[in-house]
């Protein structure tokens, strides 16, 4: 006891210096990078067991995902919907909620945007697009917000309910695009009426990457500010750490739960709207393309940090971008990249066990035996 009392002030000084700051910040980065490298290494061994060269594999991944401006555009186009889909997981996760049903919100957000776009034919872009975006975001917010409300008001497990709601959402989408909202001219691929040129989202200048990427990055930054730099985010993090304690402190835990799930859902709904306005030009069954599920992977790799979502969405998008070249050049099946994603996912999840284990990252323990 006396020992500690004496050494405490020294540790305090050391723990606030620039070295200490750096050490604390380095911990997640170093651990994730080591885990990532381990995952890539393990997958390399797997390839060697199949008689394929891991070096060739990774050079194709680099070439097709990150090696040229074409490859970067490929990667960025694929990353755009993942950013928003991952936010749908990461924001509620800070409250300790595991939402895995973003896919349903994407589908419904897309249908809402498609329906509004058909109704708004003839309006200029600056009127029509914001209304479509708002409609898509609202649809997603209501859908995932309802999951949060069920959690808070009735104690329904949000993981299960969000997944089941995703199935319902996709079924509702199919019903609407094959029934009431169907463009009679879309014979063999039921869709809503095609959007007019004015209501489509174009590409960012000098690239063939649509503006959805920009929206996604901005949303990630807003998400980060909300979580890390506002009192709401602070309150939500407390509630995520200890729900009872937060309630006793008088924090509006119910509103946090409903608000953060709704905000996450709004991001996913917006992703659906962008898919419709930037890629498909109408809402149809292609909206349920699995972005909601890849978003879960991205959010976990990013350890639920909205800013970290940006590089991890690009990493996964780059892996997906390389899938084609790997198939064509190495005669590997398309599931190869899924195995790689799985290997990386598992090693990064396992790496969670290493937080708080290394002294080098813990300035408060420096200089102690």
């Amino acid at each position: 006891m006396t020992d500690q009392a004496i050494s405490a002030p020294v540790a305090l000084i050391e723990a606030t210096g620039w070295k200490a700051q750096l050490a604390r910040r380095a911990e997640p980065i170093v651990i994730v990078l080591v885990a990532l490298a381990t995952g890539l290494l393990l997958f390399g061994l797997f390839l060697m067991a199949l008689g394929k060269s891991p070096i060739a594999f990774y050079s194709y991944v680099y070439q097709a995902g990150f090696g040229s401006w074409f490859s970067w555009q490929n990667t960025l186009s694929r990353a755009a919907p993942l950013l928003l889909a991952a936010l749908c997981v990461a924001l509620p996760a800070r409250l300790g909620l595991l939402i895995i049903g973003g896919e349903g919100a994407i589908a419904l957000g897309g249908v809402a945007a498609g329906a509004l776009g058909a109704m708004l034919a003839g309006t200029p872009s600056f009127v029509g697009l914001p209304i479509m975006a708002l409609g898509g975001a609202m649809a997603g917010a209501i859908w995932i917000g309802a999951v949060g409300a069920m959690r808070y008001l009735r104690g329904v497990n949000e993981t299960i309910s969000s997944l089941l709601m995703a199935y319902i959402g996709i079924a509702v989408m199919n019903h609407l695009i094959e029934g009431p909202l169907r463009d009679p001219k879309s014979l063999n691929k039921p869709s809503t009426a095609p959007l007019e040129e004015a209501l489509r989202i174009g590409d960012m200048p000098g690239s063939d990457v649509h503006w959805g990427l920009f929206v996604g990055v901005v949303a990630c930054i807003i998400g980060w500010v909300l979580i890390e730099r506002t009192t709401w985010g602070f309150g939500a993090r407390i509630a995520g750490g200890n729900y009872r304690a937060a309630e006793i402190q008088g924090l509006p835990v119910g509103w946090f739960i409903i608000g953060f799930t709704a905000f996450g859902g709004a991001c996913a709904g917006l992703a659906g709207m962008i898919e419709v306005a930037a890629v498909h030009g109408s809402a149809n069954a292609s909206l349920a393309a699995g972005y909601g599920y890849t978003g879960i992977l991205v959010a976990f790799l990013a350890r639920q940090s909205p800013l970290a979502i940006i590089p991890f969405a690009m990493l996964l998008a780059g892996l997906e971008a390389s899938s084609g070249l790997v198939q064509r050049r190495m005669a590997l099946p398309d599931a190869t990249v899924l195995v790689l994603q799985g290997a990386v996912f598992i090693t990064i999840l396992l790496s969670e066990a290493f937080y708080g284990r290394f002294r080098v990252f813990m300035p408060e323990k420096w200089g102690k035996p």
Binding site: S53, R78, G179, G324, L325, R328, P333
Partner: protein
Amino acid sequence: MSRNFVASRRSFLKSTAGLAGLAAAGVWPTSQALAAELTVGFIYVGPKDDFGYNQAHAEGAAAIKSISGIKVVEEESVAETVDVQKSMESMINFDNAALLFPTSFGYFDPHILALAKRNPKVRFEHCGGLWSADKHPQNVGSYFGYIGMGQYLNGITAGHATKSKKIGFVAAKPIPQVLLNVNSFLLGARSVDPAITCQVIFTGEWSLAVKEAEAVNALADQGVDVVTCHVDSPKVVMETGKSRNCFLCGYHANQSTLAPDKYLTGAEWNWATVYKKMIEETKAGTPVANFVRGGLAEGFIKMSPLGPAVSEKSRNQFEAAKAEILKGSFAAIKGPLKDNAGKVIATEGQSFKETDVALESMSYLVEGVIGSTS
């Protein structure tokens, strides 16, 4: 095990050395394609060994691999999103592909159309038959086949095989191409016995194994004893049907190996005919038609060899109908015919041949089909 390891290490070293060599020469493997070669890209929406839609196209692609001067590149399980646009671009950029076959129906609008505008020198051939001269670019073409006739022939063997007079159809979505198949299947069976009915179940998705199995079980529970389908991969339908002791009619590709005893016949695509012709035309420099259609007579579709469960009588009627279809004047949809809600589809003497464009907006199920399009 140790031999495997040595082999893998050797191939590892070989490709590493190869890569190093390429890198030293300042050349990436992209420039492998020789200028004289024509690189042809195929893109599939699902796995290419799915016993169905994608396998049928992959078999067509395999048939052109042996043509000299042709290099085939393939990609499977590509979604109908920005993914397919990027896959096409990747084939153009990395492989110098000059002719692309993105085979899924949903790839056409907006994906192929967007790429065709940006790559005017590349030719895009799409399966589904949507191209029209006034709306779409000249470097896009579409091809499709009259496979409804195949389902009609399936129906004849089904009509002879059924004892309960109930046959079943597992369908993906109530869209014109599917409805034509359902109706043709029943009309084929009714040409054997007008008392036969066909129960159709729509699963709502092109590929949803669990629902497809449930549908077959539901059909079998109702006494259905012959089953066919129109889903991307008929494998689950065939295997579940076999386990429920139903006779089976195939679709898309040959599924006879899945249930040799119960498989009657199947309506198969024969894309090799189409692909060979298009490749020869491209190589010769003659223009490829933008709108290509064909049926049994043109070799666009074929029937699986009749299985051991097909009776002599069944075989005779099957062959007679097939000969009739090959002549080209045959119509499965002909009057007097009502839909299953009692509305008249065709009056006495009215008929719709396989080539009739009216069939492409079919929205009804004919009398005798139990089910609803909505």
